[in-house]
Amino acid sequence: MFKQKKSIAKATKNNFITYGILAVMFAGSLIWLESGAMPRQFTKLLVPLCTYSIAAVSLNLVVGVLGDLSLGHAGFMCIGAYSSAVFTNIFADVITNDLLRFFIALLVGGIFAAVFGFLICIPVLRLKGDYLAIVTLAFGEIIKNIFNIVYLGIDKSGLKIAINSSKYTEIMSADGKTIINGAMGITGTSRDSTFIIAFVILFITVAVSLNLINSRTGRAVMAVRDDRIAAQTIGINIPKYKLLVFTIASFFAGLAGVLYAHNLNSFSAGAFDYNASILILVYVVLGGIGNIRGSFIAAIILYALPEILRSVGEYRMLFYAILLIVMMIVNNNDTIIDMRKKLVAKLKKNKHKTTANEGGDI
């Protein structure tokens, strides 16, 4: 009984460290931003940092907590981005309050992504391991390629949609407004993403993820991850929990997509390709699979790194690659981890000594 209480307390403590890190980062960025001393380059980096942190945390739910390797996470961002940008463009003149419209756009993007996440999860459920990874990869590509060929516009007689441009020019009247322009994507979406909104969503994502992990549901999900057969024998409904986690992760990926779409003047489906999914997976792996705090810290470091490295000019991507390799090794090599642990233990010992000494002096 006592032991259990202690472990819960430890988890709570750990969560509060995570919230604390988020709060410090938020306050620091906000003060820096509001003081006007922040370089323009970094002000434009704040929303993307939150976007990719949200994507990484949500992917960690699937990869780390559920234990299924998903290679199509950017596809859900794509659905969120497109559905919300279409919404914002259609209702740009109807709902003039930017904040309200963006709030609804967030819901639209998140819900669309969640619905598709749910639907895609049904066939995916039947698979395990490498097969599942490949199927998610395929779904990610399907989503991207569908958005690549879609033309959608609005004119007096309503919404017009076609999957090739000659058909689209036939059905669309000349004075209509084109929203999705095939491979060129969506241009002119109102840029409503702000750092504060993006951060609030990141905070919600982290809070939901942590609470999910520490709940009865979360423990059931992790039981499925650790031993599927054992979980089945004690009566855990495996499909139900898989669907649940997949849908929640898709929802948050959709929100990340909404932030992305409303941060740039134009975007296209090409931004959500296989490479983007892998990049998010890299954040998760570097931050530690199953480690929510690690995911957003890794996302922030790795996304900001190429921008900070702009000072080395054309060697930028070379350095980025080298640093990525070094970080992966430092985080995963047993010898180095041992060294790090010894160093930390040493420091702690020293600290204890000094505090003990100080206590003795008094």
Binding site: R40, Q41, T169, M184, L264, P306, E307, R310, V312, M317
Partner: protein
Amino acid sequence: MKNFKKVLAVVMALALIVTCFAACGKKDTSNDKKDAVLKIGFTGPLTGDNAQYGLAVQYGAQLAIDEINAAGGVNGMKLELLYQDDMADPAAAVTGYSKLIDDGMKVSLGGVTSGACTAFLGEAADDNMFMLTPSATAVEAIQGAYAFRVCFSDPAQGTVSADYIKDNGVAEKVAVIYDSSDAYSSGIYKNFIAEAKVKGLDVVAEESYTKNTKTDFSAQLQSVKNSGADLLFLPIYYNEASLILAQAKTAGLNVKVFGCDGLDGLVSMENFDKTLAENVMLLTPFSTSATDDLTVNFVKNFKAKYSETYLNQFGADAYDAIYILKAAIEKANVTADMDASAICEALKKAMVEITFTGVTGTDITWGADGEPVKKPIAVKIVNGEYVVM
């Protein structure tokens, strides 16, 4: 402990390398501080898949700026070129543009590729930053009164190609192969088809491919062959075009081939059998074999300083862009103490008033929409050289 020393040694070595490179990167900015300097910046793909375009723009613009500075500058100002890599990615283009602002850019050359250029258009509108993109061809890339371009837009290329083919009786039955996942290619295709309909040009086959299927074109070529077309229109980039030409030969397809400026660079490709490109026609505003003094000089100086690989339309557009800016700056009497917004106001008035002759066209004028008005030049590849038709 021994291990630790090893790690330390590696870290120190790395740090040494980093400082070396960092020093290299910074040396360009330490110019003469006495002269007033006007900083002109652009973002482009300097690394990654499309690096040849970004680097061509960088070299072309740098060449023009060096020439202008050597001749004493503009209005008593020296020009300085700033650039940031965007890997043709919209998000990286926005931060790259912001970095340029941090570095003191007052006039923008926009983005090299359409997607990147369109992405920071909104930022440029907020700043009221004057933009003259050398090579972003999408219509959306220059929305706004402050944005202009040197090259033709995608629709203009599609329309002009259809007109040229019909008016000069090049062919009657046309087949098209285009990249449906690429904005440039599908943009030209869309307008080519529309204009072909207006002009009564018979389009007998429309085939497409995507970024992921751009190595095997046998199905598309077979369909073109079956359609009985006498001309194949390729609004695509030269990498894929070289494959299509090679596979067309294998498939026994014997038709005329017509392309746009994306085919520029075909003959200078490494390991490409130039006989395949024989008689290929393309519309391009710039040809290295042109004999006017401007082009001859540009080609000579470019080759002297940079690799010939980058001597293409993008470099020429950028070279012209700098000289167009020079003309507009002189016309508007821009001085270095003006801020970016004031410069923008002055330049956008001057842009519609100037007439410019450069390596990518003669007597070019601009409308308030930012589109250039110039005549396209059709060239034919004969013995591996462009010959003006």
